[in-house]
């Protein structure tokens, strides 16, 4: 029994570390997609956030500053995506593809330029990482230690998800952003500024994706490496689709996918199930979900369609 409880503690711990990056990015994706702008550049925005977070924390020694700057770096690419998609009406999938070239390219470029041609940034001290809660309160390795003594941000992101859900359904801004994603023409006639709403949402999506990326380098990995994000941005997009474009639904999906990542981390070297097969789960269940949701028109109606003011 005690072994079982201990294993459960380890699993929850692994989940609490694997879920936040997905959840931050997924919440970002919710903003963008619900306002009618497809953002597959989430992956790239996470990568630049991961890099910026690690580097800023390395130079300032402060994990929180790094975390926030990681978000800002993501937001910069959010601005680029917004200019291309909202102002210039570019194909949103193509613009996102461009971001996925630009942002990771820039991250590794800057890393090499700063750290003597090395594509990895120097490892961070524990002090420069994000802080853990209840340090030294519980016995190391105990159930409560595993469940409670982890990064405070890992708990905050769930609060944030519920907060975003509140913004979506209970505030004027949330109502507007959902309306803009369904029927921009109607919004314009009601005096809602479609461009401004979409700009805010796309920039927010970059900011949140950047935070997600920064969590990876400031909590899990402790340094930037080019392969630090691989696919997490796309898992976040999958989670949003699986969660029916709803913040709380996405949170549940992220927990499920975070659970998969947690299991993978726990199994580690043991060859019970191939970690590669576990890695497929998020994508396979999302395909299944897409097949089953059909006809329910869960995708925001104006998603992917550039909006141009009629003259």
């Amino acid at each position: 029994m005690s072994v079982l409880i201990k294993d459960l503690g380890l699993l929850i711990n692994a989940m609490l570390i694997a879920t936040p990056p997905l959840l931050f990015a997924a919440l970002g994706s919710c903003f963008s997609e619900r306002s009618g702008v497809i953002n597959i550049g989430i992956e790239g925005m996470m990568t630049i956030g991961a890099f910026t977070g690690a580097v800023v924390a390395y130079f300032t020694g402060n994990g929180w500053v790094g975390f926030f700057c990681g978000g800002l770096a993501g937001a910069v690419f959010g601005v680029i995506h917004a200019i291309a998609c909202v102002s210039f009406g570019a194909d949103q999938t193509i613009a996102g593809t461009a971001i996925n070239f630009l942002a990771p390219g820039l991250a590794v470029f800057l890393c090499k330029a700063m750290f003597d041609n090395s594509s990895d940034s120097p490892a961070l001290d524990t002090a420069a990482k994000l802080p853990k809660m209840f340090n030294g309160v519980f016995k190391s390795g105990s159930f409560l230690y595993n469940v409670l003594c982890t990064y405070s941000v890992a708990y905050l992101c769930f609060v944030l998800a519920i907060l975003v859900g509140f913004v979506f359904y209970k505030t004027k801004f949330g109502m507007r952003l959902r309306a803009v994603g369904e029927h921009p023409q109607a919004c314009e006639t009601l005096g809602i500024n479609v461009f401004r709403t979409r700009y805010i949402c796309v920039i927010l999506s970059g900011f949140l994706a950047g935070l997600g990326g920064a969590f990876v380098t400031l909590a899990t990995v402790s340094q930037f490496r080019p392969s630090v994000i691989v696919g997490q941005g796309f898992i976040a997009i999958a989670a949003v689709i699986f969660g029916k474009f709803d913040p709380v639904g996405s949170m549940k999906a992220c927990l499920l996918f975070g659970f998969c990542n947690g299991v993978k981390a726990l199994l580690g070297g043991s060859n019970v199930v191939s970690p590669n097969l576990i890695s497929m789960i998020p994508y396979v269940v999302t395909i299944l979900a897409l097949v089953l949701f059909v006809g329910q028109s869960r995708v925001p109606a104006a998603n992917g369609k550039p909006y141009m003011k009629s003259k």
Binding site: D91, L102, F109, K112, S274, M280, L290, V299
Partner: protein
């Protein structure tokens, strides 16, 4: 219409400007990092054109990209956005590699078998997404993205299977049999001094011409383009749009899969475990955009990208990060993506000038 106006209405001028802007952005970044852009771009050019060997290497790098470019260009013409070329390329290379290792056959037949396996694998990978689209109404961009990652992990899974994994060190498959390689004869390899010189480029050019022919000279091509141009109009004209989407997505997938075969049979000879996506499919999107979805244009756009990729590997010699190539290419895509609005403005202006005819 004057010649000047017809140029402004075409794509070429915007693509050219986008490429210029790409290089300028790259230069600004290099400057910011304290690297002379002249030196870096000089090295890039020298790394591509400096020796015969370099030119051949650039072509070797270009061959798979011409295929993924063709795959995406073909999909654009048929009204689908094949962002899944990445995954189709991966399953194609996987199938070619598996047949190359596990099957025994004499020379040319073995190569053909590998190519066939890759085309079928890539084609099926695309067709499944097509079926989801026409039968269940699932948006293809979403399912393509999911299938890219399923292919990614499938490949890593297969690479680690005992029957295929190499013995001794290295996270990769065994080398494929010599009979499955499509290398140039020894004499040519010796003359070009490029150990990876292979027939891939001829296949790529052949495929481009074939696709151009199908699109422009056959009934099938006419129907596919009609569906791509306007689905409802094509339906009204009695064209079975569902079947056309399926055909288009399968052919597009087969082309990307073929690219995977060319990479394995021609160049790498094996598949390594992926740490991150190899991006052949996404680079194909760039190739298709630079080529304005013209199959013949894909040959030249693919050569351009291949040269940039190969030349980029030389940049570390002048201490410039090779990632500047990604940044240049990303900028090019971004500007091509936003150029259509300028094209619209110019078209409107010209229309007015010509008296609103």
């Amino acid at each position: 219409m004057s010649k000047k106006n017809s140029i402004l209405k075409g794509n070429a001028v915007y693509v050219f400007l986008s490429i210029m802007i790409g290089f300028i952005v790259g230069a600004v970044l290099l400057l910011a990092a304290g690297i002379s852009p002249g030196e870096a771009y000089g090295k890039l050019a020298d790394g591509v054109f400096g020796q015969t060997k370099y030119i051949v290497w650039s072509i070797v790098y270009a061959s798979p990209l011409i295929f993924t470019g063709l795959s995406v260009a073909f999909s654009f013409k048929t009204g689908v956005f094949n962002i899944g070329a990445e995954g189709q390329f991966v399953v194609g290379s996987l199938a070619a590699c598996a047949v190359g290792i596990l099957v025994k056959a004499p020379g040319p037949i073995h190569v053909l078998l590998c190519i066939l396996a890759a085309m079928i694998a890539g084609g099926l990978w695309g067709a499944v997404v097509g079926i989801l689209k026409v039968k269940r109404g699932v948006h293809e961009v979403l399912s393509y993205i999911m299938f890219n990652w399923i292919a990614f992990y499938l490949s890593n899974y297969v690479v680690n299977l005992k029957a295929i994994h190499r013995t001794g060190g290295g996270e990769a498959t065994k080398d494929i049999a010599d009979t499955a390689r499509m290398k140039m004869p020894d004499g040519i390899v010796a003359a070009t001094r490029c150990s990876a010189a292979n027939w891939g480029i001829f296949l790529a050019v052949g495929a481009a011409i074939l696709i151009w022919f199908i699109m422009n000279k056959t009934t099938l091509g006419y129907q596919l383009r009609a569906v791509g141009f306007s689905k409802s109009a094509a339906e009204y004209g009695g064209i079975n749009t569902s079947r056309n989407f399926l055909t288009a997505m399968s052919i597009s997938g087969a082309l990307a899969g073929l690219g995977g075969a060319v990479q394995v049979l021609g160049m790498s000879g094996r598949i390594s475990q992926f740490a991150s996506q190899e991006q052949f499919g996404f680079q194909g999107i760039t190739v298709a955009l630079i080529a304005s979805s013209n199959p013949i244009g894909c040959i030249f756009a693919g050569l351009f990208y291949g040269a940039m990729k190969y030349g980029g590997t030389k940049l570390s010699l002048v201490n410039a990060p090779s990632e500047v190539v990604d940044i240049i290419m990303g900028t090019i895509i971004l500007f091509i993506a936003i150029s259509h609005i300028f094209k619209m403005i110019v078209a409107k202006r010209l229309h007015k000038k010509e008296g609103g005819k």
